[in-house]
Symmetry: C2
Subunit: 344 residues, 2 copies
DNA sequence: GCAAGTTTTTGAAACGTTTCATAGCGATCC
DNA sequence: GGATCGCTATGAAACGTTTCAAAAACTTGC
């Protein structure tokens, strides 16, 4: 199948290639009659312009990359929706790269994105040992905006949520309910979100004179439902049992709750539970989850806007946006709230 | 920032552009010494080859498009993971397009994908009035594989799950438990999946002499938790109440269950519920959901493989793969199974 | 040390678009 | 009726790579 080019269109419409190009890019400068005949020629031929050739002459790629840690988490799905919305509004496509956790793999994906000369990259997480790769990319002129993580440098955009504050909210809530023997089910501490949530949590509990039990200070590798279940068993096996558990995300919390209830314990009577992210399913749990809500959609949307700003606006100023988290109280902490009432 | 080209590399390494290109594409034919010096030059310069120029000379785009209906549904997230896995294995990127439901919007995205000359497109759903757009694209040589929907034509690849069989499984299970007044909470019937699940369900119930109550034959616009809650209220308001409810996906089922329980009813004693998709959260529900499982990951993976086959293999044969669904029985239908026991 | 091979490198053409300086063409004005 | 002006259309150069026929540089064997 011979490839259809602007030249075929020109020939068919009886004009020069330059005019066809003008019709495509600056229709206002071509005579209405000419425009119409070019339009007709394109339709009849089924012409679709070639972005590669276009890019070669200076046009920017209409795509951005989104690096996501785990799409299994509905939180990131929501972030994606925000990104997609903002990108579409600006006429951009979104290339989603789901990290498998393998840094080599991540590097390969980044390399492909860079070869494509995408307009920019949104990164929710940087694989071990790959931060140099990112900084080199940035040096070469590729805009990179951090998503859900605050940039350490003033020279890079980032959109994040205050995780220290989130951890504090959880801690204060539990301590306020009188709990003083606490458990923490956290993700990898070298992930700044987890470290921050922990430190906020500790600030609050220390302030209230409560204690994070050493046996119940758990760090899991992957923040999944399954890992939460395992963590619950670990907690039940401890010498001294906590009365409240803070989980660094809702998947962990759902797993913890599920395992505890299956083992015959009551939530919140025996164990109060606080999750993080406030995913849609938190409400649907056996005992609806109290959770620290993050504005996931806005996170993604704002991040994409910043990225596109950096990519297209000469006068772009770097900026570190930080959203505030918010505690949503439900039955799993037994505060005086609706137990399982429909949302509507 | 001046753009770095193969020519800069050539100059630095003291060779011609042709040699650099060879080093990049057929390293085995260039002398080891030369190769090394070119490598060195690239590293020092931080050269990244330009995919656009490459494509222009005939190379295929290393990207495929994935059109998804609603990413909010964990089922599609899982499909995505399958696609991503297969794509990565083959060195491809995945451009995800989340349909907002607006057909114009869909057309714009498709146009962009086609301009990019992506290697192919995986479509889980075709927006209203856009099927012509797809067939024209195919005529122009763009491979399109249907995902989660069976192709009507022998000339197009598709990977799907037998929805009629799935509906039948649900119907047989409920009738087998003695239910004879049934409700159906379905999605838009012009979506073939929904129509098929319905027809399979009816086949089974008719065969067993059970009745789908007219008042409880519900069709919702969007298959979300919220819509499920609304449907439950509708069912409760009906003159004659069913004793069992089949929902066309798990989000609907979770919403139905949630609303019923909040209204003081018992599941499965008052209402048995069967969902569809068996998403991860089905287990975590207040009453764990009986659900028709679809091999989501395999669906995506196989679809991507087929697409890439069609895109790269001269001798590709079109094929319609159909997976079989499977019923996973849990507490929501009160069959003799574990109530809320941990998975592990 | 030379012919005949073999391995490696070269350089120009091609890919499909955009851009831009220039040319063409009417209309308008004295 | 000729100069001037504004609007349109033109066509060649440029973008960064790959390809491929041809040239150059080495190896052999004798």
């Amino acid at each position: 199948m011979k490839r259809l080019t602007i030249l075929d269109v020109a020939e068919r419409a009886g004009v020069s290639v330059g005019t066809v190009s003008n019709a495509l890019n600056r229709p206002e400068i071509v005579a209405p009659k000419t425009l119409a005949s070019i339009q007709a020629a394109m339709d009849e031929l089924g012409f679709v312009r070639n972005a590669a050739a276009r890019q070669l002459t200076g046009a920017k790629s209409p795509a951005i990359g989104l690096i996501v840690l785990d799409i299994d988490n509905p939180f990131f799905t929501e972030v994606y929706r925000g990104v997609e919305t903002a990108a579409n509004e600006a006429g951009y496509l979104v290339v989603v790269c789901g990290l498998s956790g393998d840094p080599t793999h991540e590097r390969r994906q980044l390399r492909l994105l860079e070869e494509q000369r995408v307009a920019g990259i949104l990164a929710t997480r940087v694989g071990k040992g790959n931060s140099r790769v990112y900084s080199q990319m940035r040096k070469r002129g590729m805009p990179v905006v951090l998503l859900d993580r605050r940039s350490a440098s003033r020279n890079q955009c980032s959109v994040s949520v205050d995780d220290v504050a989130g951890g504090r909210l959880a801690g204060e809530h539990l301590c306020g309910l009188g709990h003083d023997r606490l458990a923490l089910v956290n993700g990898p501490r070298d992930w700044s979100q987890c470290a921050d949530r922990r430190s906020g949590f500790l600030t609050a509990t220390d302030g209230a004179g409560a204690r994070l039990l050493a046996d119940a200070d758990i760090e899991v590798e992957k923040m999944t439902i399954g890992a939460g279940e395992a963590a619950a068993h670990h907690i039940l096996a401890a010498a001294k049992r906590p009365t409240a558990i803070f989980c660094a995300n809702d998947l962990l919390a759902l797993g913890v709750e599920h395992a505890l209830i299956a083992a015959g314990h009551r939530v919140p009577e025996d164990f109060a539970i606080v999750g993080y992210d406030d995913v849609a399913f938190a409400t649907m749990a056996f005992v609806p989850l109290t959770s620290v809500r993050q504005p996931a959609f806005e996170l993604g949307q704002r991040g994409a806007q910043q990225l596109l700003g950096e990519a297209t606006d000469e006068a772009h100023k770097h900026e570190q946006v930080v959203f505030e988290p918010e505690l949503v109280i439900r039955a799993s902490t037994g505060a005086e709230v609706e137990a399982n009432v429909p949302a509507s």
